[in-house]
Structures are given as C-alpha cells and as structure tokens.
C-alpha cells in the first residue's frame, strides 16, 4: 500500500493515539488499585491497633484487680456492659453511645473504637458465680464494613479466687 505523506501521518496519529490511550487506561487502573489497597491497609491497621490496645490494657487492669481484690466472684452482663464483682471490690466494662469502651476499676481506662465499627457488643463466657481456676473470657465484638473480618477482641484472664 503506497501512502502519500498525509496518509502516512494519519496512520501514525491513529496508532500513536491507540498506544497513548492504552497507557492512560493502565495508569488509571494502577492508581485506582493503589488507592484501594492503601485505604484498606489504613482501615485494617486502625482496627488492629484498636484491638491490640483494648486487649492489652483491659487484660492488664483485670489481672491487677484479680490480684489485688482476691479474684472474681461473679459476673453479670447486658449487651453493652459487664459488671465484675471481685472478692473485695468491683469493676465494669462498659460501652457508651460514642463507641467508647471504658474499664472502671481500681484504675480506669477508656478507648474510642474506630467509627467504621457498628453493632458493638460486650459478652462473657460465663455469668453468675465464677470458680477458682476458671478461665474467664470477655469478648468485644463489632461489625466492620470495610475489612474482611469482623472485629473480635478476646480478653482472657485466669481466675485466682481466694473468697
């Protein structure tokens, strides 16, 4: 096929446009993937950090209270709070309307959970009287819209009861 200069230029322009548009689409796809991955990683990290802090701090305070107050004698729970009675004192783990979890005991602690978590509940494995040598589990669960797993913080303590 013999083309004059104009024809050749037209073919060049068409081919160059196709190549440029393909590169632009590829670039857009990479950018969208990068933004999605970064967003997911950010939310995952925030939620994991919340979980780590809550588990560590509430477990430590509970263990301190168990040692100072003679162990857990009984527990009562609603959906949003657990009342913990030790041999010589009491404490509670509570959730308020602003997604804040609070431990009120010999020492207090509070943490506001990520705003992407909903339907937050506090439960325990056993209510009523707790025996010496039992493991006690406090579970804080929540639904998460943006991560593949739902939020579940398991706080397990060993009960050394002396009363």
């Amino acid at each position: 096929m013999n083309l004059n200069r104009r024809g050749y230029l037209a073919v060049e322009v068409i081919l160059a446009s196709v190549v440029a548009i393909s590169i632009a689409i590829f670039l857009m796809e990479i950018t969208i993937k990068l933004v999605n991955v970064t967003d997911d990683a950010y939310i995952d990290t925030e939620i994991l950090t919340d979980k780590a802090l809550i588990t560590k701090n509430i477990k430590k305070l509970l263990e301190d209270d168990i040692e100072e107050n003679g162990g857990i004698s009984s527990i009562t729970c609603t959906d949003t709070s657990c009342q913990i009675n030790f041999c010589s004192n009491s404490s509670s783990i509570e959730l308020d309307n602003n997604n804040q979890i609070t431990y009120n005991g010999t020492n207090n602690y509070d943490k506001t959970l990520n705003k992407n978590l909903s339907n937050i509940k506090i439960t325990t494995n056993k209510t009523g009287n707790i025996d010496n040598g039992d493991y006690v589990l406090f579970k804080i669960t929540a639904d998460s819209k943006f991560t593949k797993e739902n939020f579940e913080a398991n706080i397990i303590v060993y009960n050394n009861k002396t009363c």
């Binding site: 050749y8 060049e12 081919l15 590829f26 990479i30 993937k33 990683a41 979980k51 593949k148 797993e149």
Partner: protein, 171 residues
Amino acid sequence: MKLNKKGFMLAEVVIVASVVSTVLVFLYISLNRMSSAFDKRNRYYDIDAMYITMEVNNILIKNNNLDDYSNDNYKDLLADNINDEVIKFKNFYNNNTSYTINKVYYLKSDAVPLEEINSLTINDDNLKDYIKYLEDKIEFDKYKYLIIVELSKGNDDVYYYTLKVGETNEP
C-alpha cells in the same frame, strides 16, 4: 534517522510508550509486593495468636513443665498426654471464641527443631512457609525457647505468632 522522514513520529511514540510501560509494570510489581508484605505481617504477627502464646507460656511456667521438656528438641503441646492444661485452654478458647487454635509447639531456640517440625508437616504449605520465614528472621542464640501457635479465623487464612523467651522465662 533524519527528520521529515516517514515513520519518525511513530518510532518516537513506540520508544516513549515502551519506556513508560516498563516503568508502569515495575510500579505494578512493587505495589503487589507491598500489599503482600502487609498481608504477611498481619498473618505472621497476629495479636490473638500472641496472647495465646503468652497464656501457654504462663501454663508451662506455672506447672513446671519446662524442666520436663528440657531434653526434647520440640513438643507438640496439643498431642495426647503431653500437656492437659494446654489442651484444656485450647478447648476453652475454641468453644468460646469464633477462632480455632490448630497447633501449639514448644521448641528449643534452634534451627534443628524447626526443621524437624517442617519435615513432619508434609501437606501443610502454610506452616512450611511460616517456618521458612522464621528461619530467616530469628536470631536463635538470643533465646532459650520458642512457642509457636497457629490459629484459624473462619476464612481460609491461618495466622501465626512465635513467642521468643529468653533466659529469665520472660518474653
């Protein structure tokens, strides 16, 4: 190549497009590597598995099991008749949470016990990958023993943590 010759513009476009495409491909590969590293960090340093290893360590210390195991390279703590307290804790955990403890190993801080566990797990690619990762990461001389936990969380992934305990039995 002289200017004003036919095909010069097309040649320019092809060369520039090749360079840009190469850069974009490298960017894509790096992005995938970063995403994979993040995922690996989450699966190999799992918080729930970490607390399980700490509780198992407390059980071993409380029941004076460490002296019993001192002549062994490793122990599968969930095997029958090895450690009833650890099994009791595992049953408690599995029955009361939505996670499942699959494996708990005590092993001396050395590459040999890791290899022994690796040779036993013929079809377990997840554990093999994790052991290979550990062999590169741990400075065995610094620690007295290790506790490894494998945990499932209801999806297809498994999660790990290794507690490294020094001379004072404190991690």
